[in-house]
Amino acid sequence: MSGVLVVMEQRNGAWNRMSFEALAAGQQLAAKLGTECSAAVLGSGIDSLASELASRKLTKVYAVQHDLLKTYTADGYVAALEQLLKQTSADYVLLPHTYQVRDFAPALATRFKQVLISDVIAIRHDSEGTTSPVFVRQLLQGKLNADYRHTATGPCFVSVQAGTFRAEAVEDGAAAIEAFAPQLSAEQIRSKPGEPFRESAQTVDLSAAPVIVSVGRGIGEQDNLGIVEELSKALGAELAASRPICDNGWLPMERQVGSSGQTVSPKLYLAIGISGAIQHLVGMKASKAVIAINKDENAPIFEVADYGVVGDLFEIVPELTKAVQAAKA
């Protein structure tokens, strides 16, 4: 084919929703480049998923099936996709930036002497069709953006960050399904994956909370958490945190917001001492209103905040608690 190929993600017959964001990215990229877009889904017993894809505006849907692809392994996926890509010779391979993609896509790109442009937050076309697209990524925990370009010959591998493209933007159409049977043997698969599990029943459902007070690295140490807890109590809010706070064991993991924790969309998200790395932002940027308090005016949290305060949280938070209590009294 040439053109754009989007690699979709599924587990046990259920799509990872980010796949459709990548699909939207693929369709839009192909339209800009004046080329075609196809998609691939891997697994075993995935006929119904392939048929579902066939109702989208795609040239082909590759149903890559093998018993050894029933459960995800990096070895199985890399081998199967290497064979598919050699046959289809796509110019661009787009993937959702999921944990699974992070596990296998760098190795896949290496097979083609390429480097995955990972975690892309925008695709820009500086001049129509004539030059290669620019892929925008974040550096330094979101404090800086960078333009990347593919400079080699061969396929360009790109993974797309959650929320960059809208799944609803995927265009419908009709595609031909093509079965692809990769050559795989059991000895190729070196690791044995177990069943996914949860640590314990989640008792805190942050996704339902109308008001969330969330605390990050800026709080400094565990003993300082009290001022944030008091504010949270005054507001009748759920207390949440960014990853480092939970990593340190200062708050339980189930209060973590972000890509490895919960995704929330409260009426108010009050971010205290949170710089706003992308892994955190994807978990909270759907909030209706965001207020951020941070000492660093360059903190990326201010990019998604409706109201921002640059200052010392240790001075501001206790004053805010008093003011909230007074307003409620």
């Binding site: 550096l139 490895s260 004053e319």
Partner: protein, 255 residues
């Protein structure tokens, strides 16, 4: 078990962001550097594995200019046995594949049982060096690992999935794991450790010249554009608090 930990030295988190004149990175004249945080967890996991089994060796490897030796020295102070500095002054012009290649060259000579590294770097955040390294060395890998347990014939690791899910993965050795932050509590270097580190071996090897042109290129960096129009609230702490409460009452309507 012989464990190699691949470490990256990165600017400290509160590094001042001034874009350099070539537009491709920040001004590095006054930057302070530290160990990449996920790599600190990889080192901690390696040290704990050695302590658990009571035998073995932990070798830390870092590629970069001379300054990375300070980060390697800190790793020695925390308990690593030896360090290898892969001297390369042109790392920023190499892509992930190029960087992984110089690490692979140095690590291959060590024939370790296990290679650990952080899941991504705090500066570039590409999150790929570990996986590419495993592919170049032809060994199995697993990413975003929280726990490592030696079992008969290899390892059993706990891998983080999205939304609070986990899975166990079993794999043979040699293998490479990329370590997630937060799996262990990080140790500090003791005074004794710092003293001992001075006597430990730090070997310098020179990175071979880049094999070809990079597959991807960073063209320019710039400050992100705001996604929302942020209203900044200013004043004394009490004034700011009053302003926030007004917003909470009349705009956000949660009070």
């Amino acid at each position: 078990m012989k464990i190699v930990v691949a470490i990256k030295q990165v600017p400290e988190r509160d590094a001042p962001i001034h874009i350099a004149s070539n537009g491709k990175w920040i001004e590095d004249g006054d930057l302070n550097y530290t160990i990449n945080e996920p790599d600190a967890y990889a080192l901690e996991e390696a040290l704990q594995l050695k302590e658990k089994t009571g035998t073995g060796e932990v070798v830390v490897v870092s590629a970069g200019p001379e300054r990375v030796q300070s980060t390697l020295r800190e790793a020695l102070a925390k308990g690593a046995d030896r360090a290898i500095h892969v001297e390369a002054v042109d790392l920023s012009s190499r892509d992930t594949l190029g960087v992984a290649q110089v690490l692979a060259d140095a690590i291959k000579a060590e024939s370790p049982d296990l290679i650990l590294t952080g899941l991504q770097s705090d500066d570039l955040g590409l999150g790929q060096t570990g996986v590419v390294l495993a592919e170049l060395l032809g060994i199995p890998h697993a990413t975003i690992i929280m726990q490592v347990e030696p079992v008969d014939g290899g390892l059993k690791v706990k891998r983080e999935l999205e939304d609070g899910w986990f899975q166990h993965v079993e794999m043979p050795l040699p293998a490479l794991l990329t370590i997630q932050s937060g799996g262990n509590k990080l140790r500090y270097a003791t005074l004794m450790g710092i003293k001992k580190a001075k006597t430990k071996e730090m070997k310098t090897v020179t990175a071979s010249p880049a094999a070809g042109t990079p597959a991807i290129a960073l063209e320019r960096v710039y400050l992100p554009e705001k996604q929302k129009k942020t209203e900044m609230l200013t004043g004394s702490p009490a004034e700011v608090a009053t302003k926030i409460v007004e917003k909470l009452k009349f705009e956000v309507r949660v009070l």
